[in-house]
């Protein structure tokens, strides 16, 4: 019961704030609404017993990407005006595309044989992730880190002043 009530509260919070992200005309308000969306998604991960993933979600998306987005908004040229806004254009075509995607996703969701598991708390969550990353998925893990390293070096290269 508690879990159900909390779940629906979080679903409403996530979807409501996600709608605000899209529909609000002020850019900074969208960014702040995104904060609630990301927290809501972290909470949804907790419902799936993926508490580590929830923490990662908060660290990376709230602590990293959202801060970056707000930084970007603040670094725009109209830095002293708080009224930076964004408007929607071509609402008709956009709406049709959205409805199409919604239809495809809906069909996919309804037709997928979802994995049904028991509602039990796993003894440990992080150890399994660590073992899998280091044993089974070591190659993808290393490839991903190589990609990140390349991106990092590229960013350093681009941001260097020419001498």
């Amino acid at each position: 019961m508690i879990v159900d009530a909390a779940f629906w509260f979080i679903v409403v919070l996530t979807l409501g704030s996600a709608l605000t992200v899209v529909l609000n005309e002020k850019l900074i308000y969208s960014a702040i609404a995104l904060l609630f969306t990301l927290f809501g998604m972290a909470a949804l991960y907790v419902f799936l017993w993926a508490d580590f993933l929830a923490g990662v979600q908060v660290v990376i998306y709230v602590g990293g990407i959202l801060v970056l987005i707000i930084f970007g908004i603040m670094l725009t040229n109209r830095i002293t005006s708080v009224n930076i806004s964004h408007t929607s254009v071509q609402k008709g075509i956009g709406g049709m595309v959205v409805l199409g995607i919604l239809f495809v996703l809906g069909v996919m969701i309804l037709n997928t044989p979802w994995l049904q598991t028991e509602f039990v708390e796993p003894v440990q969550t992080t150890a399994t992730i660590g073992t899998l990353l280091m044993m089974e998925y070591l190659l993808p893990f290393e490839v991903a880190s190589l990609l990140l390293l390349a991106a990092l070096m590229g960013a350093a290269m681009l941001s260097r002043r020419d001498e």
């Binding site: 900074i28 908060v58 990293g64 801060v67 002293t80």
Partner: protein, 358 residues
């Protein structure tokens, strides 16, 4: 007692789940809030007095025992708090009103919810999560958003600069802090705060307490990196360039007054406590007694934890009155050129150490 046990223990049981849930939340949250408020008063008094003693002054003394700030100025923080509560709440006309009102609470919530995973004692923790220490690091990022919001919504160039500086600083220093925590997690093999505490029971060679700081040379360095990064994350001197009174008036908090300013103040002190508490737990044995078996009971655990944490808070205050403020470039070069390589080396070193020795 954790919040799960509390929910099971409450008499309403499963009949009125919402009431049970709300009661459990209030029973957990209210004492924490009161604790933060009382602790902040004590810390403000401590800060004023310690700074005075370091400058060879007496600090607030009060005029006798009357209403003039009490004996030894003991009522000074109460007077400060009353002043902040009674002050007029000013919202600048050009400010973004909604965000301006929201910002102090976002900052405070970031500090407040960290207390949920702080282990005050063997049985005194709100929620002993699987990912306890990671959770504290994660929710700490909420206060960055709050400070940026405060800086942005004030619509004032000093506030904006303060907010930007603060964000750059906190985001940078989160990295060495996180990497230092990784090096101790490699030793304890758990993220749970109570698990980390239990790892540190007993002694090394029968003399030293089995604290992680004494475990190996790398974790010794990691403690200092973590604690200094923590001071930077609290925006305390010598890392207080976001506030920088001499350049930026009061940084992101310039336009705030009254209760809203008090919330920023409260969250700064709460964050100091959280950083000290995590350092005490992760490196200094948490609720373990310094001498194994000496006053080592659940009740005394609270005493040891508070003692260690408040000592570290004292060290932070000590820093403030000892070191001058860093420049922005010095701040960034320390973080990226000193702390980051050393914390990466620490991870490597701890790995080798646990393979060969542990």
């Amino acid at each position: 007692m954790t919040v799960d046990q509390l929910i099971n223990w409450l008499p309403f049981g499963t009949d009125w789940p919402v009431i049970t849930f709300l009661t459990a939340v209030i029973i957990c949250a209210l004492p924490v809030f009161l604790f933060i408020a009382v602790y902040a008063l004590v810390a403000i008094y401590g800060e004023v007095k310690i700074s005075s003693f370091m400058a060879d002054k007496v600090g607030p003394m009060g005029q006798g025992v009357g209403f003039h700030a009490g004996k030894w100025g003991l009522l000074q923080p109460v007077a400060d708090a009353l002043k902040l509560i009674l002050k007029e709440d000013i919202i600048p006309a050009a400010a973004d009103k909604k965000l301006f009102i929201m910002a102090p609470f976002v900052v405070f919530i970031g500090a407040f919810i960290s207390f949920a995973a702080l282990p005050f004692g063997q049985n005194t923790i709100i929620a002993d999560m699987n990912i306890g220490i990671f959770y504290i690091l994660a929710v700490g990022s909420l206060s960055v958003i709050g400070i940026i919001l405060a800086g942005w919504s004030s619509n004032n160039k000093w506030s904006l600069y303060g907010g930007m500086r603060s964000a750059a600083q906190i985001v940078s220093y989160e990295i060495p802090a996180g990497l230092s925590i990784i090096s101790i997690i490699m030793l304890t093999e758990t993220l749970s705060m109570q698990g980390i505490n239990e790892f540190q029971q007993g002694t090394i060679w029968g003399i030293l307490p089995n604290w992680i700081i004494f475990n190996n040379p790398f974790s010794f360095i990691a403690f200092f990196i973590f604690f200094i990064s923590g001071v930077a994350e609290c925006n305390r001197t010598p890392f207080d360039i976001p506030e920088a009174e001499s350049e930026l008036v009061a940084g992101a908090f310039t336009e705030y007054s009254g209760m809203r300013y008090a919330f920023f103040f409260l969250s700064e002190y709460a964050e100091m406590f959280v950083v000290s508490g995590v350092s005490a737990t992760a490196f200094l044995g948490g609720w373990n007694s310094p001498i194994s078996g000496f006053f080592d009971s659940p009740g005394w655990g609270v005493f040891w934890f508070m003692g260690k944490t408040l000592s570290l808070v004292f060290v932070m205050i000590w820093f403030r009155w000892t070191f001058p403020r860093l420049r922005v470039d010095q701040l960034m070069s320390i973080c990226w050129k000193v702390f980051l390589p050393f914390s990466l080396l620490n991870i490597f070193g701890v790995g080798i150490w646990s393979l060969l020795v542990g």
